[in-house]
Structures are given as structure tokens and as C-alpha cells.
């Protein structure tokens, strides 16, 4: 049986609820309506239901832990095609084992969620550092990036706390998601026009690039090490690495 969800986290939790209710073992839980149908497999459409997903949500909190709920959500942000199923199986195991499930890394379902969640957390942490804001003509600081995982909501809070007296925009160009901060609160939006054309920040970008090249020690040059920390796929939005 394939469970087809709308791709939201609540949708997946609703699917978990339905699987329990129907006493079914789904073979897949999709992220949205685009999926591959294996031959002869039945499909069940899952309508996202806040009451049902809320019950699973609270069940995870009380019977497993708050930490697990966060871990499941982080894993969800990886957008891995199988993450729905991983979440379902993790919850199922967790409801049996309780808190202990968190350390049960020899179990493939636990390891799968753990891996995805860590991948997301690592990328989010990396972007706390390598996200680059560029000042626009209108004084707003604009940062665009193309992360592998859907991490904008994970990092926006950090910048709201840190750069709290300046207006800024974080733009995930891959997913067309923007976090906009006006000095008071963060708003998330999609479908807004890109701002990159209005960048006017040459003075400090030149200074930064100069600093970047001056701080490297020639006789220790090690491009491989550099790439292992700062993968090439991110370079086009990192101004000191742009050609």
C-alpha cells in the first residue's frame, strides 16, 4: 500500500495515524502527489488532518521525547524521497521502546532518520557561516543560496537574533523560499522576484576578497582540504570564491 500525502510534515504524521488505524504496513509514504507507482500496488490518498497529526505529534512528545520530534522534523527537511517511511518506522519502533530508541543506532530505521537529521543539521550549521549578505541599493541585506536541504526556517532565527537592527532577506533560490526580516519579525514567503540585480556592495566585497587572499599561507596551500570543508557546489554564492 502506498500512502500519498501532500508533502507536509503534518501530512506525514497523518499518514502515520492512518497506518495505525488501518493496521496497515505502508510500503511507501510519498512527499506530495508526484511519485512512482510500482506495478500492482494499491494507493491510499491521505488528507492532512490537524487533529490526527496532532495526536501523533503529542504521542511522540510524551511517549518518546521532544528531542525525537525535533530529530524527525529535521530529517523531514532533507526532502529525501523515502523520509516519510523512515519517520513512520521510527515512530513505530519508538512507541514500543520509548526513549531508548534514540540510542538504538544499530537499527537501520533509527540510523536512517539519524543520518538524514544529521545531514540537515550539518548543512544548517555550515550556512550559519557561509551565507553571504550583500547590501542592496535600498539598504536591505540580501543573501541567496541553494542548499541541498530545506533549511531556511532552521537558520532564519539565528540571523534574527544576531543581525537584529538591519533589514535582511534570505532567499533559497532552489525552492523559491524567502525569509524576510524587517527589524522586528521574520516572515516566510514564496514567489517574490529575486533581488540579486540590485546589489551595490563593491567596497566591502573588495575588502573582504583582499582579506581572504591575504590570510592564506602560500607554503601551506591545500585546496583539497578547503573543498572538503566548503564544497565547490556552494561556491557560486560565496563571494570570496566567485571568479
Amino acid at each position: 500500500m502506498i500512502y500519498v500525502t501532500d508533502g507536509t510534515f503534518e501530512g506525514i504524521l497523518t499518514a502515520v495515524f492512518e497506518a495505525y488505524k488501518n493496521k496497515e504496513e505502508p510500503e511507501a509514504i510519498t512527499l506530495g502527489s508526484v511519485y512512482q507507482l510500482a506495478l500492482g500496488m494499491a494507493v491510499r490518498e491521505i488528507a492532512t488532518d490537524m487533529a490526527k497529526s496532532g495526536r501523533v505529534w503529542r504521542g511522540v512528545q510524551s511517549k518518546i521525547s521532544e528531542k525525537t520530534l525535533e530529530e524527525l522534523y529535521r530529517a523531514y527537511l532533507s526532502e529525501h524521497p523515502q523520509v516519510g517511511l523512515f519517520i513512520y518506522r521510527y515512530i513505530k519502533l519508538g512507541l514500543k521502546l520509548g526513549r531508548k530508541v534514540e540510542g538504538y543506532l544499530q537499527h537501520p530505521d533509527v540510523q536512517a532518520v539519524h543520518d538524514l537529521s544529521r545531514r540537515v543539521a550539518n548543512e544548517a550549521h555550515l550556512f550559519l557561516g557561509i551565507l553571504r549578505f550583500r547590501k542592496l541599493k535600498n539598504g536591505i541585506f540580501y543573501a541567496c543560496y541553494e542548499p541541498d536541504n530545506n533549511i531556511t526556517q532552521l537558520i532564519a532565527g539565528h540571523f534574527a537574533g544576531r543581525l537584529s537592527d538591519q533589514a535582511w532577506i534570505i532567499h533559497d533560490r532552489k525552492r523559491d523560499i524567502m525569509a524576510l526580516y524587517n527589524g522586528e519579525e521574520v516572515v516566510f514567503a514564496t514567489g517574490l522576484p529575486p533581488f540579486a540585480g540590485e546589489v551595490c556592495d563593491e567596497e566591502y566585497e573588495t575588502l573582504w576578497k583582499k582579506y581572504f587572499s591575504a590570510i592564506a599561507i602560500e607554503s601551506r596551500k591545500n585546496p583539497k582540504l578547503q573543498r572538503s570543508f566548503m564544497p565547490v557546489k556552494y561556491w557560486k554564492n560565496i563571494i570570496e570564491k566567485q571568479l
Binding site: 521502546l97 531508548k100 534514540e102 540510542g103 538504538y104 543506532l105 544499530q106 537501520p108 540510523q111 550549521h125 550559519l128 557561516g129 557561509i130 551565507l131 553571504r132 549578505f133 550583500r134 547590501k135 541585506f141 543573501a143 539565528h158 540571523f159 537574533g161 544576531r162 543581525l163 537584529s164 537592527d165 538591519q166 556592495d201 566591502y204 573588495t206 575588502l207 573582504w208 583582499k210 582579506y211 581572504f212 587572499s213 591575504a214 590570510i215 592564506a216 599561507i217 602560500e218 607554503s219 601551506r220 596551500k221 591545500n222 585546496p223 583539497k224 582540504l225 578547503q226 572538503s228 570543508f229 566548503m230 560565496i238 570570496e240
Partner: protein, 413 residues
Amino acid sequence: MNLLDKLQILADSAKYDVSCSSSGSSRSNRPGGVGNASLPGICHSWSDDGRCISLLKILFTNVCIYDCKYCVNRSSNDIRRASFTPDELCELTIQFYRRNYIEGLFLSSAVIRSPDYTMELLIKTLKKLRHEYRFNGYIHVKSIPGADMRLVYEAGLLADRMSVNIELPSASGLKLLAPQKDPTAILEPMDFIRERIQESRELVLYKKTPSFVPAGQTTQLIVGATRDSDLKILHLSEHLYRRYRLKRVYYSAYVPVNDDENLPSVHTGPPLLREHRIYQADWLLRFYGFRAHELLDEGHPNFDTYLDPKCDWALRHLDQFPVEINKAPLEMLMRVPGIGYRMAAKIVRARRVGPLTFEDLRRMRVVLKRARYFITCNGRYYGGVELDAGLLYPLLADKADRKVMAGQISLFG
């Protein structure tokens, strides 16, 4: 001279200082302020040598009254000299910070006129940055050897982290290469800073006191400018961690910048491999419960550059292996080559749920390349060879320089 030239000169002069981390402080922003401090620290970029850039690491000036032989800024060197004004530095820091280029400022300086005069300039800059520019991010400031303790204290109230660089691991080395510097001028402020940190932590329990160097103090040792052995360096580090409660000792492979009969020739490269082994050993001291005398002794004063220090130790203590993955205490798991302290903790948690097989370890992403020779799973040994140092050595030794160049491990510590 324009700002771009100054930045070029004073970053270039600061680059041999290896410390960079921005960890150990946690501070939220204030209304109207700029910045906060993140406890685990954040790296913002990696330069072409693969070292992390977290802070704007810069000298206030490279004009120096000293003529230390190992230093690129020595007074007798004919190089371009420059100095910032406090405002230039503050503006640069704030503007870089607003663009998320950096986590904060690492301010150091050559010694201009006198240690006190230099320290006063640094304090003036930091005061401006904290109070006028309302900068709330991370600041690491160098304590200038020979400066008055009153000034050291004042700087410590403005900074998250302070460091006094030891540079040369022995008094004899210091005498030879930096005859104008006095060893007590290094250890005295270190002790002073340690006492003030402790005091400020104790007082904080009772009332609101200004925090003093909340992220602790660090130092730097140059490796390879003198003849000091790894044993000597490691013993010094251990002493610094225990006696002075340092957060980190950084090691800097000496990059020959000056010609001098007492120094390696400028045509030789920095001893990166040796630096790498010492960093690995430093990790063993700080996180793995090893003592310096276990890793090296008079009969074995330097690390084998082909083996990581933990393998080196394990091969000399084969009587303690193999260890049973399902029974061994955490402290012993951490001593298994290839098993890090995080992985050891994971193993302990996982085996509470059920016994671990070799396959389980693989699934948990334990790196078994080296570990397999030192463990059993439920009594079974998977190493495939006898536990014999002669047989194991070629299996454990680094074959190419590939890994070895990895240099400083840049976790967020």
C-alpha cells in the same frame, strides 16, 4: 595609505597566528546592538590553505620594537608597515559582520613604542567597538607580553577570549631566538588571567559582575623553529592545560620567513606532518583521558610520523587488546584506534538496547579500518591477523601523504 592596502599588510602579518576558533561564549544580542556569540563557534570560510576563517584576524599595527628572529614582523626586516586607527578597525569589523563574513574580531598587534602603549591602543579599539559601535559578537584579544596587569584586566573585561603566545616551547629557545623577550612576561599574565577568570566565575554566583574572558584563554606554540622534541612540547601542553586551565594550545608549524643560522632555512617547508601528529596527541590529552607520559617518553621522544599517536600507543600496549565492544568501559573504547569519543559514547548507548555485532558497527558508521584489529564483537575477532606489532604496523601506517596533509582538524572546538 588606503584601507585596502592596510588590510592587505596587516592581515598578511597576522596570518601566522593559527588560533581562530570562536567557541566557548554564549551571549544574546541586546536591543539596538549588533551580534551575539554562539557557544559552539561558527566557521565562516576556509582560506586556500584549508584553515578555517572565523574571526577577522588582524594586527593593529606591524610596527615592532622587537627583533625576534623567527617573526616576519621583526624590526630589522624591510617590509611594508601600516597601522589602523581604532575607527577604521571598528568599521571594518562591523561591516564584515553585517554581511556574515565573520564571527567577530581577533585583534593582535606588534609591539609599537612599548607593551603598555600597544595594549592601550587595543583597549581603546575594543572599547569603541563594544560601546560606540555596540558590537556584541565575539572578540579574541592578544595580551601583549610585558604589558601592565591593570591593562590586561581591562582588556579581559571587553573580550571573550584572551591569549598570550608562548611561541617557543623552551626558555633556551626563547633566549636564542627572542633575546629581548622575558619568559616570565609570558607566564605571569597567563597566571593572572587564570585567576581573574576563576574569580569572575565565583562572583557570578552571588551578584551580577562583569564577565572576564568568558571563553577562556589559549596560547600558541611554534613547532619546528627550535630543536625541542614532541615529548617536550606535549609535556608543556599538559602543564598548560592543568596548571593554567587553558582552553586550547595551538600549534603552528614553523614557516621559515627569515634567514638565520639558528633557524631552518627559508628553503624548507613547514613541518606540517609533525604539527598534525601533535594536534592529534593534543586531542588525546583533552578528550580521551591520555596523559603525556603514556604517549611519549625519553626512549620514544617523538611521534612516528607514519602512525597516528593513538595507533602508536596501542601498538606498544597490545596486552590491553583486543577489547570486547559489548563490555569494555567507555574509557577503554575511547582508546581503540579509529574510535572517536563521540562514537564510543554512541556504542555505549546502543549496546544498552541490545548486543552489537560487527555488522551493527558498520551500520553505525564506525570506521573499522583500524579498529577491527583491536576489538572483538561477542567474543569474535575480525582482524584476520595475529595481534602482533610487527604484523600490524604496515597495516596501520599511512601509506601516502594523502591524509597527512589534512593539517589542523577544524571542528568547532
